[in-house]
Symmetry: C2
Subunit: 577 residues, 2 copies
């Protein structure tokens, strides 16, 4: 036995296998997932696994290492989120989302940091040695809403699209703020004195980190689109480029201390439409399927690892600090949402209702990002306290908030996602209004959302498409294509209803046409259909032989299976002849 | 800049990217791949890369580490080979393949080992310190034909199916022999004295390693098939199981010192038909696509890494030894093929022609497996000589034999793979003969190939299918399905030829039918078609607006693009109304 040799890949495969089997297990029980969110179940599985491993080894495996999380587990989820991001609601609410993500997160960081510092001044709690900077540092990591946790819960409760994109978009874009504040406070902690220059540099960093991320992402995205122009002869490696370039964008951004999450989202959103047009349909299915698969496994692993890593001796249980952390997280988020929404509603016709505000505040789940960040903290004597507090906040938000949010959504009768797709009439109406508004904005000289959208679309069709698309597809073809597709569908319907044969047999219509189409059919019969026929023949001939009345030394006649099927085939074939 | 942090995934991604881009590059030039095999080009790229890196760093990167090769690069290729293995020619020739793989490899090992030992006795070459055991050890690693190299070359020259499967099957199955002999001689090298018991234990190991691999593979394969019975609700992780279980079978076999290659092939061949029946069509596309993609990237990386790792100072250039190694490799293989084929032909009606024999002997390419094994050798003072000899043998076989085999195949007019698929008539004929032969074997009590095939098929349908398949599909449905498929294809042909509309408009036939089918069409119109329509509308409406004669402050009328497309759409739509 040579376990050492295969240990690393073997254990990775086993963990993924465990995650996949756990997922299958939950779905076999149909009732369970409707009551308890999958994330809770997975953490639970992780806790059990962690307990077993801890019992056997006296220490938990280092599965939730910050490097593993940030380099391998997080990118697939963010890529999936970016690639399948509904771009219309996202860009319609981009202002609100940015407000929540930037101002809201800063508000939370300072709110939580300062009030926890206040708690530290209470002598009875014995926390006087935790400085303001450490509290702010802790605030910066605990304030950020986690995209993985939010996605896991919100995918199951089906709230309306706007609400979903507000919470989810915030959780993605606050990464830039978190990165900046976390690194700022961490470097402040290590500096002897803080100059005001440093503070200003920090403010400047926001823009660098966020916009830099967007820039890195877009450039990789466009490169990816450009590369897929040349893959016509080797279709089989097309899907690879989607994954390679997005991962490179993430890694490059991380390398330059920019926001990797923002970069990968920009990359995915930037490349999507061009790559889709360039690659083959099968490649595209593979890309979509693999992205979903990967993110789903990543997500499962994160929650299991979260459970596993919770077990251990890393914690310092100072309950007052921990409880106040949970309370402040809830209170400051609620306050922040209230205040920011007040301003947002003043400038919008389509206001955010108080029910929606409640769900936004309540949906601020914390997850694996905080968990990984707290382990990345520089060593100091109260690190274990911060770890304990983070663990409790995560478990509280995922379990208590995650499990109660669905009943609350039901109770408050929050507007749900519409089950049916909008009708074509509605869609035309919306588009018409878009054009109208773009026109009005154009005439009135107001540079609003519609104006920019229109300009972008123009720039896209004028320049980008010509560079990035292999076959610059003509606008007219798409309506013609739709017509053809409908015709084809109609024909299939007829064929399935068995009415095609009759129609064709009518002699007055089809004197010479049948001959022509028959020829055509023979031409196109070649590889695909023949393969299929051969496979089917191979299968059926075996069956017929076996179940037919053949002579066999080992069985008596009549002992074999009833040959109903075989008869049926023969009858069918005779009929068709 | 924080390169350290992202170094590992960044460099892996860059290598994969380089491999993919190299592949694209070669295919852009259509003429190049038809003259030089891709493997040679890739080694060449690798040599250049290795030269550059060596020039900059003064040492080559450890990319072709044995662990990297055996644990990460080899499994995807073997999995792909096993999954897409044509099972009929493989099992028809299994006896011959095993003979070549087992007896042929042993013949080569001892032939090359002993005759190199003879060379070492020549005083002028100054090689007297290389013992017989070391020569045999070297023989055991240099004798094995490499599946990766064989696949890369034979995929391009399109020889007939039997010849292909003989060479390729041998290269896969000789792994068991190579593993046993290599480990045997290596342990002999470290033992003070060798007892005859050890030799017998070695012979016993052949069966353990080979059959153990098959057993491990089949058990994982059936487990995989069984697992996919329960994935109906989470289609998205179905492809994962195919990869996870086959990889686990490989790792498990390696862990127990069994043949990992044999295990993964058995796993892939065992699971294929059941998994295919259980998983959805999209999952299956993803599995096939990803397998091909992965193996193609792996293959590319192996050849590039081979080139990179060749550059360095690991070599001891004792030319007599190296040249004689190349000569003995060629001679012993040719002799082995001649002798073995003589015996094979005596027992077969369908003999292997002398042209085929030449190609089998000439197609015995060496590749990355030898290269990795030679680095795994225990340290001794002539290791660098062995490394040099292995490198030269690989480069010689891949470049000289790989590049000349195509002209030779043309020159000798070796029977090629038939371009067209066999006709349905032929196929029925073959099947009929199979049944006949199975019946004859059954009556005459001869346990031949057809008898076993028939029994296996019976066991499969009676037991395995019931356990492993989710929906045990009825035999009758497949012919009906084919009929429906042909009908549908016919209908599409008609629709595309524009003849469906006329047929339907004829009033005598379609008095009430049109109404019925129209209703049906509306029912089925829902999600899919609507999505498509909306997307198309979204695109087209924008275009119409922009190119139409709208008022615009910034452009004069007539300055905008000619609105031909827009007009065309309008005309088309008017017509259709």
């Amino acid at each position: 036995l040579d376990y050492q040799h295969v240990q690393v890949p073997f254990e990775i495969t086993l963990w993924i296998m465990l995650a996949s089997l756990a997922k299958i297990g939950f779905h076999l029980y149909n009732k369970l997932p409707s009551v308890v969110p999958e994330s809770c179940l997975l953490i639970f599985v992780g806790l059990i696994m962690g307990g077993i491993i801890y019992g056997l080894n006296d220490r938990s495996p280092p599965v939730m290492d910050s490097d593993i999380f940030f380099l391998y587990l997080l990118p697939p989820i963010v890529l999936d989120a970016g690639y399948f991001m509904p771009s219309r609601p996202f860009f319609e609410n981009i202002g609100t989302i940015l407000l929540y993500a930037v101002v809201g997160t800063i508000w939370n960081v300072f709110g939580i940091g300062f009030s926890l510092y206040g708690i530290c001044q209470v002598r009875a709690f014995r926390l006087q040695d935790v400085s303001l900077l450490h509290n702010l540092l802790f605030g910066s990591l605990i304030a950020a809403v986690d995209p993985v946790a939010v996605l896991a819960v919100f995918e199951e409760i089906h709230v309306n699209e706007k609400l979903h994109i507000l919470v989810f978009g915030e959780s993605l874009l606050n990464d830039a703020v978190t990165v900046v504040l976390y690194k700022l406070f961490r470097s402040f902690c290590e500096m002897p004195t803080i100059k005001s220059v440093d503070v200003f540099a920090g403010v400047g960093q926001f823009f660098v980190v966020g916009l830099g991320g967007v820039l890195v992402g877009l450039s990789f995205g466009f490169t990816a689109a450009f590369t897929t122009r040349f893959t016509k002869d080797i279709r089989v490696i097309e899907p690879l480029f989607v994954f390679l370039y997005s991962y490179l964008s993430y890694l490059t951004a991380e390398m330059f201390h920019l926001s990797g999450i923002v970069a990968i989202i920009a990359c995915a959103m930037g490349m999507k439409r061009y790559v889709e047009a360039n690659i083959s349909l099968k490649s595209h299915t593979t890309v979509k399927y693999f992205m979903k698969m990967w993110s789903s496994v990543s997500d499962t692993l994160i929650f299991i690892f979260l459970g596993v890593s919770t077990i251990g001796e890393n914690h310092e249980w100072n309950w007052p600090y921990i409880c106040f952390t949970v309370i402040f997280c809830l209170v400051w988020r609620a306050l922040g949402v209230l205040v920011l929404t007040f301003f947002v509603n003043r400038f919008h016709v389509n206001t955010i209702t108080s029910k929606d505000q409640f769900i936004i505040a309540y949906g601020g789940l914390r997850g694996a990002i905080c968990f990984s960040l707290v382990f990345l903290l520089p060593e100091f004597h109260r690190k274990k306290l911060f770890i304990a507090a983070t663990t409790v906040v995560i478990l509280f938000t995922v379990f208590v908030q995650g499990m109660t949010i669905r009943p609350l959504v039901d109770l408050l009768a929050v507007k749900r996602k519409r089950e049916s797709a909008p009708t074509v009439g509605e869609q035309i109406h919306i588009r018409f209004l878009d054009h109208l508004l773009a026109g009005i904005e154009d005439i009135s000289g107001h540079w609003g959302q519609y104006y920019w959208k229109d300009k972008l679309e123009y720039f896209n069709s004028k320049y980008l498409q010509k560079i990035l698309l292999r076959e610059y597809d003509q606008p007219k073809s798409s309506i013609v294509l739709l017509y053809e597709k409908l015709e084809r569908k109609h024909a299939i319907e007829l064929a399935e209803a068995g009415q095609l044969g009759h129609g064709l047999a009518h002699p007055s219509l089809l004197n010479d046409r049948t001959v022509r189409t028959d020829q055509k059919l023979e031409d196109t019969m070649n590889p695909d259909v023949l393969d299929n026929m051969q496979e089917i023949l191979a299968r059926n001939l075996y069956r017929i032989r076996r179940t037919g009345p053949a002579y066999n030394r080992h069985t008596l006649p009549g002992e074999s299976e009833p040959s109903e099927h075989a008869k049926e085939i023969l009858i069918l074939r005779h009929k068709s002849l």
